[in-house]
């Protein structure tokens, strides 16, 4: 909807003062968006030729492109690889080329939809640096991500959407403050029934419970103000079930969000 590709059922979106539905063309000139994944580039063309092609689609003047393409390749760290075919690029290099593609027409607003998904840790870290550089280019960025630390590192404000509704929208620091007095107990279990989960939720020492499926096992993420003292009560509820590792740790920003989601359900 923000990228003018879909229309809303109700409500309005304004980007740089233009209504997305009424002035879609004006909005399109001023925005750029990328989705996670490798598609959307011509693999048999070089990085520079891809940018030249997409630049012509954006009606960027050839003399402007002549200066802008080398500048963008340097910005994304592909200055020395611009003349190589895209098919030889790694996944993160392709993703960085996508960033250069959306910057060709110098848009003021960027939408990044899970830009680091599927990247290796080193590639993701380099890519996050590219996004940081964009902020110094005076861009407004809306980022959707599944990685909490990414939102924490890059964004001034972070929001959570659950079942279509915003359940939190604040600075990362303010959101972390909400769980500063909690501890998280992680317990590996194998085949936990819903009745046992409900029993744990009813324990007075337990603030919230979430379950993550990891291959053959489940991991219970229990938030408690009692810390390790809550472990015996929880283990008592798990009597008769196969239990793996038990770990008590400090909460992270991700735990703050898990708690918000649990509370909203």
């Amino acid at each position: 909807m923000l990228a003018t590709l879909l229309t809303p059922n109700a409500g309005s979106i304004q980007i740089l003062g233009f209504d997305v539905e009424k002035s879609a063309r004006e909005v399109q000139k001023r925005i750029g968006f990328i989705f996670g994944g490798e598609r959307g580039l011509y693999w048999r063309l070089s990085g520079s030729d891809n940018l030249r092609y997409f630049g012509s689609l954006y009606h960027v003047e050839p003399n402007v492109m002549k200066k802008r393409i080398p500048y963008l390749l340097e910005l994304i760290g592909l200055k020395d690889r611009g003349n190589e075919r895209v098919e030889g690029y790694s996944r993160d290099m392709k993703q960085r080329l996508h960033v250069a593609r959306i910057l060709l027409h110098d848009p003021m607003v960027l939408f990044l939809d899970e830009p680091t998904i599927g990247l290796d840790p080193v590639g993701a870290r380099e890519f996050r640096q590219v996004i940081k550089n964009l902020q110094s280019e005076k861009k407004t960025i809306l980022l959707a991500t599944h990685y909490m630390f990414e939102a924490d590192a890059l964004c001034q404000r972070v929001g959570v959407i659950n079942h279509g509704r915003i359940i939190a929208l604040d600075t990362p620091e303010a959101l972390k403050q909400d769980v500063s007095d909690l501890s998280v107990i992680e317990i590996e279990v194998f085949g936990i029934p819903e009745t046992v989960l409900e029993q744990i939720r009813q324990e007075s020492v337990v603030d919230s419970v979430a379950v993550e499926n990891r291959e053959q096992k489940q991991v219970l993420l229990i938030q408690s103000r009692q810390g390790a003292e809550a472990v015996p009560a929880v283990m008592n509820a798990l009597t008769g079930l196969r239990v793996g590792k038990v770990l008590v740790r400090e909460p992270t920003l991700e735990d703050a969000y898990v708690r918000l989601v649990e509370e909203s359900q």
Binding site: G11, T140, L143, R157, G164
Partner: protein
């Protein structure tokens, strides 16, 4: 301009038709009456939570 993006009471619900005769409809709520602003030259992140 203080806000680059202004979203006001935005709603989008999908009702895909499924089944052999494509008669079964199910509501998928993408956004349900959400409002927020993004200040010019800032970064706003949204975290999508999912659970199996």
């Amino acid at each position: 301009m203080e806000n680059a993006i202004v979203i006001d009471h935005l709603k989008r619900i999908y009702t895909p038709r499924m089944g052999v005769f494509r008669r079964t409809t199910k509501k998928i709520i993408a956004v349900d009456d959400i409002s927020f602003n993004v200040k010019t030259v800032s970064c706003l992140g949204f975290w999508a939570y999912w659970r199996w």
